[in-house]
Symmetry: C2
Subunit: 596 residues, 2 copies
Amino acid sequence: MEQLPKRAANYVPLSPVGFLPRANAVYGDRTSLVYGRRVRFTWSQTHDRCRRLASSLLALGVRKNDVVSVLAPNVPAMYEMHFAVPMAGAVLNTVNTRLDAKAVAAILRHSEAKLFFVDYEYVRLASDALQLLVSDGASQVPLVAVIDDLDRPTGVRLGELEYEGLVSRGDPTVQLPMLADEWDAVTLNYTSGTTSAPKGVVYSHRGAYLSTTSLLMSWEMGAEPVYLWTLPMFHCNGWTFTWGVAARGGVNVCIRDARAADVYGAIARHGVTHMCCAPVVFNILLEGAAATSAPNQRQLAAPVHVLTGGAPPPAALLERVERIGFHVTHAYGLTEATGPALACEWRAQWDHLPVSDRARLKARQGVSVLSLADADVINEDTMSSVQRDGKALGEIVLRGSSVMKGYLKNPEANEAAFKGGWFMTGDVGVVHPDGYIEIKDRSKDVIISGGENICSKEVEEALFAHPAVADAAVVAMPHPHWGETPCAFVVPRKKEDGDQNVQVCEEEVVDFCRKRMARFMVPRKVVLCEALPRNALGKVEKVKLRDAARKLQPAPAQKTTTSNSKGSTKAPAGKSGGGRRDEQNPVAHVMAMSRL
Amino acid sequence: MEQLPKRAANYVPLSPVGFLPRANAVYGDRTSLVYGRRVRFTWSQTHDRCRRLASSLLALGVRKNDVVSVLAPNVPAMYEMHFAVPMAGAVLNTVNTRLDAKAVAAILRHSEAKLFFVDYEYVRLASDALQLLVSDGASQVPLVAVIDDLDRPTGVRLGELEYEGLVSRGDPTVQLPMLADEWDAVTLNYTSGTTSAPKGVVYSHRGAYLSTTSLLMSWEMGAEPVYLWTLPMFHCNGWTFTWGVAARGGVNVCIRDARAADVYGAIARHGVTHMCCAPVVFNILLEGAAATSAPNQRQLAAPVHVLTGGAPPPAALLERVERIGFHVTHAYGLTEATGPALACEWRAQWDHLPVSDRARLKARQGVSVLSLADADVINEDTMSSVQRDGKALGEIVLRGSSVMKGYLKNPEANEAAFKGGWFMTGDVGVVHPDGYIEIKDRSKDVIISGGENICSKEVEEALFAHPAVADAAVVAMPHPHWGETPCAFVVPRKKEDGDQNVQVCEEEVVDFCRKRMARFMVPRKVVLCEALPRNALGKVEKVKLRDAARKLQPAPAQKTTTSNSKGSTKAPAGKSGGGRRDEQNPVAHVMAMSRL
């Protein structure tokens, strides 16, 4: 039984990149990608273009395991690089376009990128990052290639190389390296990039293949999808649908920004069937639908399936977007799990429940996708499963071949993340009696704002750099538009000679942060306080701070009621960092408790 | 990049068996299986029962890589063994219930089965097989356990062991062996069993996992399917849907036979959504629909998705079953490819074609499923792809991790099957310009009758054992009900002293075969001839024989026209072996040509 050897015909390394040659063979004449007014490719053309680019990468000296970085929105080049870069044996590193130059430089440095593709809109950001890299004396500065707009070329250049030139000069007949080991790296995605120990998440070909097919199943994406690129491809490689659309021979509708006009325009023009987005995009869709006078934009001609994640979609929002014609599936994931890891699989028996019950059920994170061997909620101390009663809290843990290979060059983070045969998500949740997992408390360290992960530690590090800050902690504060925004609790430094605090105000702290991090990471609220609540081991009790921040959240457009009995402070909505100091605020109350 | 090690949390061996613990965790309260009037289990119960059985297998001394055989129709035990046997580390071998005792004995001997589960209806067949095994002095005779009917126990026994006893006495808390290597064998399926070198196809856990998920995608089987077991589970483990239904948390509707009354009854009672079958079952469904007076059985209340394979569904048949409410998807596969390897993915653009064009397109075998890295049609001599023109003939070849590990203890067959990095299907086909593959000529060696594979070589070997047979070849003859039936071309032996043939008639040859093989394998037509057409290398030109057999096919119920101009012979429909000798028959004509 054991003596049957692996052969070339029955053991082929799993890779999502293989979906492209298959699409060329079986969907060759079908549309692969549309962009702007003039760009339309077939799967045969996309295959040809990717092979050409891969050959050019080889000609430039790119080799196995070299990192090729890209800073671009959802343009055709960004899509093609998901195939072309690994076809050359290299590792694709997509960089979040919302980062600042310092963070981009940190990623280029840490990843040791050999080549850096930059969309023409981000040439300034890239130049700044490269300058930082050079001025810091980095050992490796990447070759740079600009990606001009394919629909309306601008002529913007940065260095010698240009994407379309590399494609057109490439040779599609060049023999590309064969993938020998499915454990080889395919992409590298940074979850945070500005600290001294950036967390670069490495995906294997195997994990990416399994996650791709698994998500096609969880979302039930059938044949001939028309997929709109509202979700940035730099988020977990577009939750793997970069590869998934090729597997299905679908149409990629590329757009630069998820603006309401572009989204509704693409839906109408191309017959979009599927899209992914963070719940924050629902607001944009609703505002867009309301703003337009054209009635066909208030009700979609055909249903559009939306996979959402990053934060549970609020029930009211869910109801409103579904009324327009968006069918929402809720998933939970993280970069480390190659995108969605749990999906809230709908059950037919729930169809007839009242709308509020349905929204409550749909807001749960759900059940493990098929690529995972297991997902559970465990007691961190005993490492055993919590009761499946919807009440017992524990940490959500995952196990399976779609979990990342690990963090690049960060053994400490790897040791913390992998424990007892599990990947520890850091998120706190419960298991309901029906097996569905629900998050009860976000990870201690992550704030998700408009679909972007913010590492609270990074913001804290910046705060500690301020001369007047003695102690600081950053947690998530609910926000009606962004889902969450960072809220900073800052303890001012005592004057050297006495009991008095150093003079510092909230606006100053916010300004200080603005100069040191991307805009979306800047705390929208800074609370000055006497001390942070700490447990017996001296660890900041972030649960208490999150409770406090919840009561400080900006008021939504509609009237809200705040239930805490005394001393609640409402920060003015939308005004960044505009909280005012209040002796009676709930933080002070929390602190008092922790001092008992 | 390379230094990230595999960990328990991010490298879990792929196995379809893992879908059961997942189903227990996330679909635990949902129905897993129904059978008869009284049997209904949830996924938690199925999980518990499988763990119990696995523990009992361990207690009986079953160890890693031991073969556990089962001879049973689609009853609950047959389903459960697809999980319980590999959970004990053993290899499941499902035996075709249509075989004769000799073939069953050959399988038990070749597989060295340690344990043999026998459904109460097949106790006689099993006893005969075991007796043959003993009388042949086999070194290994398996322990036997009977499977009584779970809905209505009969009390039939064979030996000491009984399935339900093993389940109830099992301990669901016993630690079961962990799968360490996904290349380990999970099941063993014989494609033919009576020859001296049986072909036992070994599946790995990896291949079975990938094939299972791949077929869920190709067929677009979504959440909560209600799957009717019309296709025998002993065919490629039910084309992997044994495991696939668990992956989807669906309901398995088990029935003993695919009789029209049972099929329509199950559809009405359980709301069946999916079923698989060979096209021959369409006849049963149509007859059943016509025979009943209840109008609700002439038109299904809700559509039922049917995956069919084994032979292309004839256009007229397709149209008629679709009119009742069956939505047919056509797939092509073989045991060696873990079931379907190509699926005829429908394209929306074909929806508006005339019905005859649609039927022609749907009868094509289609495009590779996602578990395959590639499928192609190649020139056997040059091993290069044929033109994609729908005309150039070549051999259909496959490559990917869902291709079998190989044939058990049969290096010769393995060498023949794996060539140049491909698995050679033996089937001849073309590639159309749109990339869809179509079979033009079945394999030289395989006849598919009512969904059962018949190895022509096995029938030929039996024929050669007849003292009056000098030469023989068996090919497929089209049949209106069974799709194909075997047609034998036999050259009688010359008398020792001269030019005259030994006396032999067709009926005698048929009778001779009846005693030596399962009924479905017996040639339905025997043609006595002077010589077989052979090429320069002395190889029988089966293409010519198939052409000849095509002209000999039994007339269908409706009137047919035969286009050959002279000397066509129509065998009386349905009369086994009843062809009459005809000096003017087209075989003689073919032979004359080959003699030029």
